[in-house]
């Protein structure tokens, strides 16, 4: 039986108490995306400043529990200064860590507040761990690995993924803005 210490790792509590990249950016020019967790009312707003295909700045506003807030904070640290492609890779690695291989966490029509499953997906062609996906994609999950324990608390997976859904939306916008290539 998982205990609370599996969920509330020290690093998570640290990001919760001292959230990184908290704030807002003027929008426009920054892109802005909002996500809601319809189950609990948590809200996240992501501001994304792009320079070419690089995320030059990123700020996070909103309110939520320790899991949603720390996940957003760690995510911001992981993707700031990275390219769109690297950010997508990080999302894929995070998705794998949350055992959400089959689900469209990387945007493209995936509503930020989409209902449905809690992550208990059936057999999947991609059974790799988050670390394996990260290695293959050439990105690092870093502190985010601490969120691994959330998988054992299925109702909290949506807390952890809220900001990622929202980031995926913002990246969709950024790609639209960059035009087809």
């Amino acid at each position: 039986m998982p205990g609370l210490e599996d969920l509330y790792r020290e690093i998570i509590l640290d990001h919760y108490r001292n959230p990184r990249n908290r704030g807002e950016l003027e929008s426009p020019p920054a892109l802005r995306a909002e996500g809601f967790n319809p189950l609990c009312g948590d809200e996240v707003v992501i501001y994304l400043a792009m320079g070419g295909d690089v995320i030059t700045d990123l700020k996070i506003a909103g309110q939520g529990c320790s899991i949603s807030q720390s996940s957003a904070s760690m995510m911001s640290a992981a993707v700031k200064g990275k390219t769109l492609a690297q950010a997508r890779s990080t999302i894929r690695a995070f998705r794998a860590m949350m055992s959400l291989h089959g689900q469209a966490l990387d945007g493209h029509g995936d509503g930020a507040s989409g209902g449905g499953g809690t992550g208990a997906v059936g057999p999947e062609e991609d059974e790799r761990t988050g670390a394996e996906v990260a290695a293959a994609e050439g990105v690092s999950l870093g502190d985010l690995e601490a969120l691994q324990g959330v998988v054992k608390f299925p109702v909290r997976i949506k807390c952890a993924t809220l900001s990622w859904h929202t980031l995926a939306q913002a990246l969709d916008e950024a790609e639209k803005g960059a035009g087809p290539d």
Partner: protein
């Protein structure tokens, strides 16, 4: 009210034995269920009645000529009569079985509302409504352009009635809760209903959190419609009810259409059945009705005045115990304990998020709700995104509250 009006007080130790789920152990702890406002647990007589029905009597209702079909129909209609008596309805025909309270409100919005409300009309609801008694009216507003007005929340967790008459001026409907599922507020429904009627408006009361916990007389309430739901009153899920004044129900167009609700169908038209069947299209939730009837019997056996006295006292005990232990570290939303508060306590502890708090409480076996409680406009008004909420029923006692109070402090280890 004098003590002897309540009848004998509840023997909670005995009552607990009627609820098998309370024997469960979670995370090595006794299950302490404090989320009855979300959904109540079920006593053995309810479970047995449903099991017995399926084992001995099941057949479709209002159709078969054979013995068990007749018996099933009698059980189904008998349940309706029990529910009608429980809420003081003039006749069983005034009770329409629905899926839940949400469907009951929607029934009125889709039938009476769409037939009677237009661009030049107004509806009044309140800031403390559950989405079930809010979104259907918002939708009507969006579709029909009917103005939607709100009774505001006052400072003390009760409704602010200063503008009541102005708000009701020109209104055709007042849709208001009899008990807030977040704050426990018990608005003065009779007073509101009288004012609404004086202004020419009909009154729909959301009784989802009231009917299970307080003696209910729909005619004394002064309502025209009352919506409530079986699973919050010790009955099964999948059944609720709309009570409506008979002549109103008769004047309304049907809701869902198909079998059961018709009198005659030709290739070019149909006529509807009498009330209440006019609103019960398709095969109804028969076993669930039987279960709800058994739940009503169970509550009557306890006595609703005794139920209310017990829950009111337990709520006061909980609010006192939380404050005594945690002082300013705990903040409790809603009115003070007493006759204007139902057995619902929404609270915040330090700045621990409600999700995190309920996760900690879960480890102690305590079930509380954390979230927006389907009342987002109210949460915005309170300036919070989520609260933790403990709510009480007949099977809770002071020992349950003590477990809750002890467990809250365990959040300090992580979030202190």
């Amino acid at each position: 009210m004098a003590l002897n009006d309540f009848g004998p007080p509840l023997d909670v130790a005995r009552i607990k034995k009627d609820f098998p789920i309370l024997d469960r152990v979670v995370h090595g702890k006794r299950l302490v269920y404090l989320d009855s406002a979300s959904s109540a647990q079920k006593p053995l007589p309810v479970l047995d009645a449903m099991q017995r029905y399926y084992e001995t009597t099941h057949a479709n209702v209002h159709r078969g000529v054979y013995q068990i079909a007749q018996e099933a129909t009698e059980l189904y209609e008998g349940a309706r009569a029990k529910v009608a008596a429980f809420i003081g309805a003039a006749a069983p025909a005034e009770v329409v079985f629905t899926k839940n309270a949400t469907e009951a409100v929607n029934l009125v919005a889709y039938t009476w509302g769409r037939a009677n409300l237009g661009t030049t009309d107004a509806m009044v609801t309140s800031e403390i409504e559950h989405h079930a008694n809010f979104v259907p009216w918002l939708q009507l507003h969006q579709e029909k352009g009917t103005e939607l007005r709100f009774l505001p929340l006052g400072e003390d967790g009760t409704l602010d009635l200063d503008q009541l008459d102005q708000l009701l001026d020109g209104a055709k409907l007042l849709a208001v809760t009899a008990a807030s599922n977040v704050l426990g507020t018990l608005p003065p429904v009779r007073l509101l209903a009288d004012a609404a009627h004086a202004a020419g408006a009909l009154v729909l009361v959301d009784g989802a959190q009231y009917v299970p916990h307080l003696p209910t007389d729909v005619r004394e309430m002064g309502a025209d419609f009352v919506a409530f739901t079986g699973h919050k009153m010790l009955g099964p899920t999948g059944i609720g009810a709309l009570w409506g004044r008979r002549e109103l129900l008769e004047s309304m167009p049907p809701f869902l259409t198909g079998g059961e609700m018709i009198r005659d169908v030709r290739l070019d038209g149909f006529t509807t059945n009498d009330v209440p069947w006019k609103f019960e299209a398709g095969t109804p939730p028969i076993a669930e009705a039987v279960g709800l009837g058994a739940a009503v019997d169970y509550l009557n056996g306890l006595g609703m005045s005794a139920v209310r006295a017990h829950e009111q006292a337990l709520t006061a005990y909980a609010m006192r115990a939380l404050k005594e232990r945690y002082g300013d570290d705990i903040s409790i939303h809603g009115p003070p304990p007493g006759s204007e508060r139902a057995g619902i306590v929404s609270f915040a502890y330090k700045d621990v998020h409600a999700h995190d708090l309920s996760q900690v409480l879960d480890q102690a076996g305590v079930c509380v709700r954390a979230g927006h409680h389907c009342a987002k406009p109210l949460m915005r008004r309170l300036g919070v995104t989520a609260t933790a909420r403990a709510s009480f029923s007949v099977y809770n006692d002071e020992a349950d509250v003590d477990v809750l109070v002890d467990a809250i402090g365990q959040a300090d280890a992580l979030f202190g």
